[in-house]
């Protein structure tokens, strides 16, 4: 398994499923990259938990306004039509089902839709941020992740071993090898890298991959 998508390519693939005008929250870190890859002609409205709708890219270094940041504490800019609001209103948007999509990273995703992405166990300082709210709020919760951990263990699993972020919340996973939906508490394979055999993919996946109809080719440009 030498061939796999880069993080940017995973983000690109996820971005293709975001409709024009969708309200979207991108998790801190890797998921933030999704914003770069919106298809031409589509413009999503990005939400950040700390009280901004419709923010844009980072300003050039030296031009930061540190009162204008995103949930990852990075400096941002505003697009026309942006709005500020306080934290309770911000999480009313999240919890109240007003976001169309949340795209988050993962340590583990289970075939029942459970997600673990906030704690790697009892060591260190625990920190949860807005992840637990996002997984129970957005109309669609998607995950982007490498298909396996750095030491080669599956991140798509039968049941999560790490502390959960949310129960039965994830509906689609974009990985470095495949696009997998979660339906009726099972992984359903939608797309895979064209040269990758189903057997090899299954071998690096911690639970059974169902096939329901055609498996699409996961073809992503160099980005």
């Amino acid at each position: 398994m030498t061939e796999k998508l880069t993080n940017a390519q995973i983000a690109w693939r996820a971005a293709q499923d975001i409709a024009d005008g969708a309200y979207v929250n991108l998790g801190i870190g890797f998921p933030e990259m999704v914003a770069k890859f919106q298809p031409p002609g589509r413009q999503a409205v990005f939400h950040t938990e700390n009280g901004v709708l419709n923010f844009g890219e980072s300003p050039p270094e030296g031009e930061e306004d540190w009162d204008l940041i995103n949930a990852g504490k990075k400096a941002i800019t505003l697009k026309p039509g942006a709005a500020f609001f306080h934290h309770a209103d911000s999480f009313a948007m999240v919890r109240g089902g007003h976001l169309d999509v949340a795209i988050l990273g993962a340590y583990e995703v289970a075939e029942n839709g459970d997600l673990a992405n906030w704690s790697t166990g009892p060591k260190g300082v625990p920190a949860v941020g807005g992840a637990m709210d996002l997984v129970h709020g957005a109309k669609r919760v998607a995950v982007i992740t490498d298909h396996v951990t750095k030491d080669g263990r599956p991140k798509l699993v039968k049941r999560c071993g790490l502390p959960l972020t949310g129960v039965g919340c994830v509906t689609r996973v974009y990985t470095s090898l495949a696009v997998v939906d979660i339906e009726s508490q099972r992984f359903v394979l939608r797309e895979k890298l064209p040269k990758l055999s189903l057997d090899v993919l299954q071998a690096v996946t911690g639970a059974e991959l169902l096939v329901d109809g055609t498996i699409g080719d996961l073809i992503v440009p160099e980005v």
């Binding site: 409205v45 039509g81 942006a82 709005a83 009313a92 129970h136």
Partner: protein, 240 residues
């Protein structure tokens, strides 16, 4: 993204029989008269929508707005805190003969239930109404030695809202005390329809001054010289 629609009939399309409908306003302030009358026009032309459950602080005034909806026979039930307004004839007449239902909710509880609906909070506890007839049948609980009543969220199929400024993305401001329930209802409805005195381009409202962010709004129609319910009522106007 442009949420603007060209006319009132299009704005209220999709509001159908039996739906729950939140209507902004406190008395006449903030009452979206033109949207309500557009819905009445459709009912007169097609016989629909009827059997509506309408959520508003009051139950209509005079022979216009919600009162005219009630007169027309479109409303099965009102959810409100104060159905006795200056001229509550429309509601009172139908209520006395059992032709309209009433769920009476304390005003702050009404506001908080709608706020909870928009915020994804299915239930909360309030001291309001504990020990009164309005708490009958509701769960109660003690916190820190005081008794509270459990109340459930209110959501709706649609909301009709009157705003002052809107941009085309649905960001809104309100005018004075016309704000009242409208920002809460905008968030609690599946379909939020707004009449605004003026529609501006995105960026035309200072991001600091937006009261309702566009994420809570689905459709906007411009009604430049909106009618004021209180003035209509005092002039004795009847709609239709």
């Amino acid at each position: 993204m442009d949420k603007t629609v060209s006319d009132l009939a299009t704005a209220v399309a999709g509001i159908e029989d039996g739906m729950t409908l939140m209507i902004g306003g406190f008395g006449g302030s903030g009452a979206p008269i033109e949207l309500v009358h557009a819905l009445i026009d459709r009912f007169r032309a097609t016989g629909s929508p009827e059997g509506l459950i309408v959520i508003n602080n009051n139950a209509g005034n005079g022979r216009i707005g919600i009162a005219a909806m009630i007169d027309a026979g479109m409303v099965a039930k009102m959810v409100c805190s104060f159905p006795r307004s200056a001229d509550p004839r429309a509601f009172t007449e139908k209520y006395r003969v059992g032709q309209i239902g009433l769920e009476l909710v304390p005003q702050g509880t009404l506001a908080e239930r709608i706020r909870a609906g928009g915020a994804g909070i299915p239930a909360f506890y309030t001291p309001t109404s504990f020990g009164t007839d309005l708490a009958e049948g509701k769960p109660v609980a003690e916190f820190d030695g005081r008794m509270y009543v459990q109340e459930r969220w209110l959501k709706s199929d649609a909301a009709l809202i009157k705003a002052e400024l809107a941009d085309t993305m649905g960001n809104l401001t309100y005018r004075k005390a016309a704000r009242n329930f409208s920002p809460l209802m905008a968030a609690a409805a599946r379909l939020t329809v707004v009449q605004a005195s003026k529609i501006v381009r995105p960026g035309g409202i200072d991001p600091e001054q937006i009261v309702t962010p566009g994420i809570f709004v689905n459709r906007i129609v411009e009604v430049a010289d909106a009618q004021q319910e209180e003035a209509l009522m005092r002039a004795g106007v009847a709609y239709g």
